[in-house]
């Protein structure tokens, strides 16, 4: 049951890069990805910055070699998951029981919106093929087919913690000897549905977001996909290169407070971080870096910060929110940030928390504002908290 689970590959696409090395390059050079909308059509295009992937649907479709355009959510998933598998370079993958655990929250909403644009004014119009991809599960099936993964395919949908949950669910399948290799993470494309929805919640910043700043005004929505390839000990032994690290701890808890708001003391966040440390058998001081959930909303950052204060005080690890680069990619964020956490371990770097000027007055610590290089990063904690009170923390550790 406690067999180790290794991270052997990773893949990412986001507003700061179309692949792993572009993303890392942007993180190192402090290049954020939010700006004016180029692909999403919205009445808010001049007022709300978003963090779009810098590829059109045509370009994505062509890069993937597809014969037609399918949901952007699925195409982003395919790009990042394919890169993750290539990065892992597992010889004779077909000899192993392989699974695809993918999260998303919008499903094929982008295609559904196109359908409704034609359908609403004239019910005879609109192409039904645009809505067949609507449900979240279908997105994962499309990507799994593309990757040729057939042994096990599942979709998790627990809001913004979805893809962190797919990572640890994948790890469990390996630990329980149900699978040997799991591609796990998540994807989400920007849609008018989510943009308008978050706008009605009044938690979108009209400028690039400022996580953990006293004057933070909310989040920027982003899009992308991020996946890790997890393997069992047996598979790790036959890899041509050593795995990057292991997934040493994970925990999920419910905040049981409100549908969307976090409890003031961050009970759910605290339970998730504490549970992950316990599972990893680590003390708080062993954590070198926390990749914060850090959305930039008033509510999240104070709840998360309060939970960190309770668990780690008075000595704090380095921390930052990479949402200051990628925006909040919702169902993809846990997967993307898992990839960034593994990269931090591999490169021994800590990313800056961009645009942080005034530290929050309630908190005794300040996230990093500059890139740190050549630091010893042995254990990284990655936080992902979602609506519905769903809180998850993952810990990645050097081998």
């Amino acid at each position: 049951m406690n067999a180790p689970v290794f991270i052997a590959g990773m893949g990412a696409i986001s507003a700061i890069g179309n692949n792993l090395s572009e993303c890392l390059n942007a993180l190192e050079n402090q290049q954020a990805g939010m700006g004016e909308m180029a692909y999403l059509h919205s009445v808010h295009s001049k007022t709300l910055p978003v963090a779009e992937v810098k590829l059109s649907n045509d370009a994505l479709s062509e890069q993937l070699g597809l014969s037609k355009i399918i949901s952007r959510t699925a195409m982003l998933s395919m790009v990042a998951a394919k890169e993750a598998l290539e990065n892992a370079a597992i010889a004779a993958l077909s000899n192993f029981r392989t699974g695809f655990i993918s999260a998303n929250t919008v499903g094929g909403m982008d295609r559904t919106e196109q359908f409704f644009n034609a359908f609403l004014p004239d019910h005879k119009k609109g192409k039904l093929r645009d809505v067949v991809h609507h449900e979240c599960g279908y997105i994962s099936e499309l990507a799994a087919d593309y990757l040729g993964i057939r042994d096990y395919v599942t979709t998790i949908s627990t809001a913004c913690s979805s893809s962190a949950n797919s990572v640890f669910y994948g790890a469990r399948l390996i630990r329980n000897n149900i699978l040997d290799v799991v591609v796990a993470g998540g994807t989400d494309a920007l849609t008018k549905f989510t943009l308008n929805g978050f706008n009605t919640l009044m938690i979108l910043d009209q400028d690039p977001c400022k996580p953990f700043d006293e004057n933070r005004k909310g989040l920027n929505l982003g899009e992308g996909a991020g996946y890790v390839v997890m393997v069992s000990e047996k598979v790790a032994a036959v890899l041509k290169k050593a795995p990057f690290c292991k997934l040493s701890g994970y925990c999920n808890a419910n905040d049981a407070y409100h549908q969307t708001a976090s409890s003031p003391d961050g009970t759910g966040s605290y339970l998730a971080m504490k549970g992950a440390l316990d599972r990893a058998g680590l003390l708080p001081e062993a954590i070198d870096y926390i990749n914060l959930h850090g959305t930039g909303t008033q509510n999240n950052d104070i709840a998360e910060g309060t939970a960190i204060k309770r668990l780690f005080g008075p000595v704090y690890p380095k921390m930052s929110s990479t949402k200051s680069f990628t925006g909040h990619t919702l169902g993809a964020s846990g997967g993307l940030e898992a990839v960034f956490s593994v990269l931090a371990l591999r490169e021994n770097i800590i990313y800056p928390n961009l645009r942080l000027q005034t530290p929050m007055k309630e908190l005794p610590f300040v996230p990093e504002t500059l890139l740190l290089k050549d630091v010893s990063v042995k254990n990284v904690l990655s936080n992902s908290f979602g609506f519905g009170g769903n809180c998850s923390s993952l810990i990645f550790s050097k081998i």
Binding site: T200, M202, H258, Q259, T260
Partner: protein, 87 residues
């Protein structure tokens, strides 16, 4: 003002789905949030929608919410102050 307060009570009950509450149950100065009617942050957003839909008043800064939405009377006062002249 009394008419506006009465209208608001009916509109708030409809907008927020307060099915067990009758207009006469809501005091003019009774706190609406937490200790009073027990409304939450999502209700506050729905009240912003109500102001926009029924009174064409845009409350663009959510931070003004607690002050404006303290009671039915404070909402009525806010509407009086901000309502476009021609309505």
């Amino acid at each position: 003002m009394d008419k506006l307060i009465q209208d608001l009570k009916v509109q708030i009950i409809a907008q927020l789905n307060l099915q067990d509450v009758k207009p006469e149950d809501i005091g003019d100065d009774q706190p609406l949030f937490v200790e009073g009617l027990g409304l939450d942050s999502i209700d506050a957003l729905e009240l912003i929608v109500l102001l926009q839909q029924q009174y064409k008043i845009k409350l663009s800064n959510a931070e003004d919410g607690p002050k404006v939405f303290r009671s039915v009377r404070t909402i009525a006062e806010y509407i009086r102050e901000h309502q476009p002249q021609n309505t």
